[in-house]
């Protein structure tokens, strides 16, 4: 009988007795992986985990979770869906473009990283600016990321869209035009020929339109004296330079261009073949300007004497050349006769420039220039300069028209006359009478906020444009980023309102092809690539016809040797006219001479301060010309006695957080003389103490070098020609083997540099102190802005600083006396940065090796390792190390660009943003060195000299800084050092033998020996 028990099978396999099933029938859980089972495949389905793995997982999990908890929050980065052409992460793109701000011009290269412009550098292809950039041009990249600009068009202060604005504005404009109402476009100098064409097109549509051009820092007088346009000037051909109040190295007309030319005449060489000639530079002025600080001979006059000095110089030159003199010019001033003698002696290579905006003064100066043969050599009337096209008369006329209610519509095209015109207040009050007003200013500034419509223009880095800085020289602006806010180029706006719907970029290209390039698309692309186009070799020796007697008579009427207190209004090298006042880099820019930032002040000479019983920091009330301001006193050696000087560019009220309330507005003090705006008040100036005090933020408070020859070395040309080592201080030490150079004795073994040995040479003779490098360095290296109070606390973070020393009249032994600057001091500028010592005192004292020496001679700072003992900074003989006292980014007290997302766009991603508690200092732009080395390595070659440029050297308008590999015998720096080693080259405080990798070249003044020895 068969087994009757029912049999249940678990599956078909069991029923069919499948061999593989039978084999595993007793193995309920399948194969367990053994510890040696390296496959571990069953782990995948979760069945294979066992005790050890569990512990591992648990350990890993806990560790991972706790690590994740420690981690700083990570912001999401979003990958490109479609990668744009040309954007490679970490690879910079460079675009040629043009910086213009009113009449300021520079052909530039824009460095963009991942689509963000982060650095501006000079375009060396430009025959005009030749790669030079001012501090303001350097800083303009930060103005792009200014969070306080208008974020779109506005009607009556309320946000709107462009269609609405266009519709309303065009309708109202048409209504005004229909009535025959007067329409005005007010702008500063426009360098762009295409923009001018756009304005002309607008004017054609609305025929009552007139274009009024003015400048906040006009050179109207100069233009008038030369028949309406400013001639081009070339200091590089000059052997004698005389400046009457023209700060041509700092602020006058085109300072960086002039500085480069001036430097050509100031460069000397110690070698046998070296140049032993220098131009001689005389400066007569009221304030101690950046240019005056670089002059060989300098004397002061009061603003009321300016015209008289010009006439006296004319007479002195006329006497020597046999020309007829003119009446007047009775003024006693040092060095004037000597200047005249030198001017005549170097006839054909002489130039006189005057900063005065008075056309009559400029006429006399032009006549003097004609006498010394300047026209055709140093001055060329064939090439007109377009930097200052402002017409003071036209602007005054316009304001009077507005006041009289004669203007029906006004468009302020990037102009802010309510702030920066002497009659701004009057204009501001009268603007309400204008039926229709619009401003294209980038923000609702003093003028823009009074207009009914705001049609904000894009930043120049977001724009298409062109420029013609000098006749025949053209330059293109191309956008380096698309518009950040809903702004629109003013040219497009004007075209739209004129009924032309062409996009401005197309309009520009068409205009260039038809009027400038006159050839096909290739030329356009080349021009766009190069950024510049055209040349003009024309030279004219023609000098303007001047009726000297008439001019002298006008001068006699307007000028006299006054005995009252006088007021001089001047422009600062950093902030300029104040158009970029909301740029924190420029606010924290130490003024080359006064070393003050974050303020303007009443500067007075020490004798005047004593006379008025004032001291530095006393707040005084200055009143003149119907205006009154309160500001602190700064005692300025070298300023004319009985004068007060105040800078323009400050006292903004609607520019933004960084600018508002900083300083006072000095524009209203500017008065009219001989039909032009002249920055001086010669009558009725009163200065009275208020009893309050206000500290001025200065980055340097000790003014003299205390006769320390090891710091600053200088000589005069006469001595230098005889012996290139004259004036050199070579410290010697007495040893058992006799006297030895201090640098020859060392306890150290030194470093071997088998590959590169980076170094720098700074020529004190060509450094003008302009401080463009300071801004360039801050931009390149993410140097934080710390604000006014922290500068007062002496905590500015600049890696690169320009030390400025005044000479003292005291004897070397008189230590107290040495602290006091002369009344008319000689000045020396000394760029000071990490000296990258070979025997670095900072390196030995760091307990954690956060600062070390590289195999290429760099002193490196490892931020991550730094624990912040500050011993390195204390032990740094040059005091170039900077400590992060606070967290300067994302901290409310430091509400500058590091504190908002937009401002942080300017950060250079190649450089760490330092946190609080760590030390930082100049790295010699190690990120650039590394990039250059990698580029060369990829191409299997060594870096070529000049290929790696560091930010300060790159930005120096006068090429005073030479950077390179001292191991490469063919590099510029090696050649320079070879020539100067037994000449001008020295290390600062050599005798402590830290062996810096930065050498300085002694300053040579072109003056008589006796005078210099006194110092």
């Amino acid at each position: 009988m068969e087994n009757s028990n029912k049999r249940y099978w678990k599956g078909i396999e069991e029923l069919t007795n499948d061999p593989s099933f039978v084999k595993n029938i007793h193995n309920e859980f399948g194969n367990m992986p053994s510890e040696n089972d390296s496959k571990g495949d069953s782990l995948v389905d979760g069945t294979g985990s066992h005790r050890r793995d569990f512990l591992k997982m648990l350990g890993f999990g806990v560790a991972a979770v706790s690590l994740a908890a420690c981690e700083a929050p990570v912001k999401n980065t979003i990958p490109y869906l479609n990668k744009p052409e040309d954007v490679e992460p970490t690879i910079a793109n460079w675009y040629a473009s043009t910086f213009t701000d009113g009449g300021e011009y520079a052909s530039i290269l824009v460095k963009t990283r991942e689509g963000r412009p982060i650095k501006i550098e000079g375009n060396k292809l430009s025959p005009v600016s030749k790669g030079t950039l001012s501090a303001r041009a350097q800083a303009s990249v930060l103005s792009l990321y200014d969070n306080e600009k208008l974020k779109g068009p506005q009607i009556g202060g309320k946000a709107t869209d462009w269609n609405q604005l266009d519709k309303e504005f065009t309708a109202k404009l048409a209504a005004v035009a229909a009535k025959g109402g007067q329409i005005r476009i007010v702008s500063n100098t426009i360098l762009s020929p295409t923009t001018k064409k756009v304005i002309a097109e607008f004017a054609a549509k609305y025929p009552t339109t007139q274009h009024v051009v003015y400048d906040a820092n006009p050179a109207y007088g100069l233009a008038v004296a030369h028949g309406g346009s400013i001639p081009s000037i070339d200091f590089s051909k000059a052997k004698t330079i005389v400046s009457l109040g023209a700060d041509f190295l700092g602020t006058w007309v085109s300072p960086t261009e002039f500085a480069a030319q001036w430097a050509v005449t100031r460069r000397v060489g110690s070698g046998k073949e070296g140049k032993k000639e220098m131009s001689r530079h005389y400066q007569f002025e009221t304030i101690l300007s950046n240019t005056g600080a670089n002059a060989d001979y300098r004397a002061t006059y009061k603003p009321s004497q300016e015209g008289l000095v010009a006439v006296a110089l004319y007479n002195a030159v006329a006497k020597l050349t046999g020309a007829a003199g003119v009446a007047g010019g009775s003024v006693k001033i040092d060095h004037l006769e000597k200047a005249a003698k030198d001017l005549v002696a170097s006839k054909g290579a002489s130039i006189i420039v005057a900063g005065s905006n008075d056309p009559q003064v400029q006429k006399i100066v032009a006549a003097t220039n004609a006498l010394v043969g300047a026209y055709g050599t140093t001055i060329n009337t064939a090439v007109a300069v377009n930097y200052r096209q402002g017409n003071d008369m036209a602007m005054a006329n316009f304001i009077n028209e507005v006041t009289a209610g004669k203007v029906a519509a006004v468009i302020f095209y990037n102009a802010n006359p309510v702030y920066n015109h002497p009659m701004g207040a009057k204009l501001g009050a009268a603007l309400a009478k204008v039926e229709l007003s619009l401003s294209t200013n980038d923000r609702a500034d003093e003028t823009g906020s009074l207009c009914q419509y705001n049609a904000p223009d894009s930043h120049y880095l977001e724009s298409w444009n062109d420029a013609e800085p000098k006749s025949g020289f053209y330059s293109l602006t191309q956008p380096a980023i698309s518009t950040i806010f809903k702004t629109r180029q003013a040219q497009t706006s004007l075209l739209t309102w004129a009924g032309n719907t062409t996009d401005y970029s197309v309009y520009l290209e068409r205009n260039w092809e038809s009027t400038i390039l006159k050839s096909g698309a290739v030329a356009w692309k080349t021009a766009l690539h190069d950024g510049v186009f055209g040349d003009n070799a024309a030279v004219s020796a023609a000098s303007p016809a001047v009726n000297t007697a008439e001019a002298a008579a006008a001068i006699s009427k307007a000028y006299a040797n006054g005995s009252d207190l006088e007021l001089a209004i001047y422009e600062k090298v950093g902030l300029g006219t104040g158009s970029q006042a909301n740029n924190p880099w420029l606010q924290e820019f130490p003024e080359p001479v006064s070393k003050a930032c974050w303020d303007n002040y009443a500067s007075i000479s020490q004798p005047t301060a004593t006379k008025l019983n004032l001291k530095q920091g006393d707040v005084v009330k200055v009143s003149a010309n119907g205006t009154e301001v309160s500001l602190p006193v700064l005692v300025q050696p070298g300023q004319a006695n009985d004068t007060v000087a105040i800078a323009i560019g400050y006292g903004r009220t609607k520019a933004g957080k960084s600018a508002n309330g900083v300083g006072v507005n000095a524009y209203p003090f500017i008065s009219e003389v001989n039909g032009a705006c002249v920055g001086a008040c010669t009558k009725g100036v009163s200065v009275s103490a208020t009893g309050e005090e206000k500290a001025i933020a200065q980055t340097q408070t000790h003014q003299t070098v205390m006769a320390r020859q090891a710091v600053v070395q200088e000589t005069v040309l006469g001595e230098f020609v005889k012996n290139p080592m004259s004036g050199r201080f070579v410290p010697e030490v007495l040893t058992a083997e006799g006297k030895k150079k201090a640098t020859d004795i060392s306890l150290w073994n030194g470093h071997e540099y088998n590959n590169h040995a980076w170094g720098m040479v700074i020529d004190l003779n060509t450094c003008t102190g302009c401080s463009a490098c300071v801004v360039s360095c801050s931009a390149e290296n993410n140097v934080p802005v710390v604000g006014r109070q922290e500068v007062i606390n002496r905590r500015e973070m600049h890696w690169m600083r320009i030390d400025r020393y005044y000479s003292s009249d005291a004897e070397v032994e008189d230590l107290k006396g040495l602290e006091v600057a002369s009344d008319n001091p000689e000045v020396v500028f000394q760029p000071m940065l990490c000296q990258h010592c070979n025997n670095a005192p900072c390196e030995t004292v760091c307990p954690v090796l956060a600062t070390t020496h590289s195999s290429e001679g760099l002193n490196q700072m490892t931020y991550n390792r730094c624990i912040g003992t500050r011993y390195c900074a204390n032990n740094c003989p040059y005091k170039v190390r900077r400590f992060n006292w606070f967290r300067y980014f994302q901290t409310d007290e430091y509400d500058f660009h590091f504190n908002n997302d937009l401002g942080r766009m300017v950060i250079n991603p190649d450089v760490t943003v330092r946190s609080r508690g760590v030390m930082e200092k100049c790295s010699m732009c190690v990120q650039r060195i590394q990039e250059g080395k990698l580029t060369a390595k990829k191409q299997k070659r060594r870096p070529v000299d000049g290929e790696i440029e560091i930010a300060c050297a790159q930005s120096c308008p006068t090429n005073a800084i030479t950077f390179g590999d001292m191991n490469d015998p063919n590099s510029a720096i090696s050649k320079l050092l070879a020539e100067e080693r037994e000449g001008r080259a020295y290390g600062v405080i050599e005798e402590i033998n830290v062996k810096p990798n930065i050498s300085y070249l002694m300053k040579v003044r072109n003056k008589e020996a006796a005078k210099a020895h006194k110092e």
């Binding site: 030390d803 030995t844 760091c846 500050r870 400590f883």
Partner: protein, 467 residues
Amino acid sequence: MSHVVSPIREHLVTGGKSYSDVTHDICKQVEGEPTKEWKIAFAVSCVIFAYGAYCLFYTWWQGIGVWGLNKTVGWAWDITNFVWWVGIGHAGTLISAVLLLFRQKWRTSINRSAEAMTIFAVLCAASFILAHMGRPWLAHWALPLPNAFGSLWVNFNSPLVWDVFAISTYLSVSLLFWYMGLVPDLATIRDRATTKARKFWYGLFSLGWTGSSKTWARYEYMSLILAGISTPLVLSVHTIVSMDFATSVIPGWHTTIFPPYFVAGAIFSGFAMVQTLLLITRVVFKLEDYITIEHIEMMNIVITVTGSIVGIAYLTEFFIAWYSGVEYESYAFINRAFGPYWWAYWMMMTCNVISPQLFWFKSIRTNLMVSFFLSIVVNVGMWFERFVIIVTSLHRDYIPSSWAMFSPTMYDIGDYIFSFGLFFTLFFLFAKFLPVVNMAEVKSVMKGVSTNFPVKKKAAKAVKSEE
């Protein structure tokens, strides 16, 4: 234990105390209820400590930018306070170790509190090491610890690393020395204990002390050995601290005279601080018989000697600055005396050089009030000495463009106050919970018991009846 009494000396313990009087007098502070004076003093120090702790917390939270330092003067009150506290700490080791080796028996009644003071002073100094760092949370990077960065080690060239070793060695040896000396006395309190808690805690910390001859013999050896280890520390710690300055390149710091000068200065300020504390303690705890005028006088003599060494060092520095012919060095010293910080310099000179010379007069050096006043003056002077060295050297060094002034903020001051709060809070805790005089050692310097016995009984009774 030998009973050594110098035939010509005054008795080191007066009032005819017996051994049991000693035990009773010292232990009653520990065993009894806290006195009113102690409560007030402790409360005040706690308040100071709390205020200081707030300032210190704020400094750590915001960054040391809240201090008055700048790009030129990178150290000021922080390192001044650090050096000052370390200096103060020196007296403890000197008294307990060096004087032990030289068999100076008068030290016995003051060494306990001097050692305690050392430890607390070193803790205060350590607080400034931490506080002065930009990133104190990474302070352990200054220790040569193995790490994940491979061969990344500390910089053995840096005097700051030497400092780390010097201070930590000093703290650990001092702590050990102090604690070992406490063991017999802790055992005494344990044996006298009436409460369970006291019996437990003092029992725990007395390490099973039995008081057998063998134990005492070992105790003596250990004291000698620890004294031998500590003695070089008296010289080394402040020598190394002085090298923070001496090995730098800054004029006014770069001076070979610093090591001996700093050591002398440290002993000088340490003795002054011990003097200040003892003069308070002997009154508050009624220990006039243990800390006698003799002690005060001896201390004052040491202060005068070390003060004179310091004075000579000041003059030598000046001479060398002139003699060296180094422009910067000469300027640094002229600037100290006649520059913007002249007042700090003359404060230092007056307090450190002139004031201790008053102790040449016996009437002055045995006068308690004057001694107390001058002991404070000396420490004010020594604080200014460090301030002068640090700030006036830094504020005008090589490059005149960077010359700057330093002025303290409320947080500079607050963090200094913190260290006082910490010091006094710890000291008052010590004074309450531990015997402030080394009973065991004091007993060894008392006059023979037998000669004293009858007198003692009467005197003791008299004392008791007064109470």
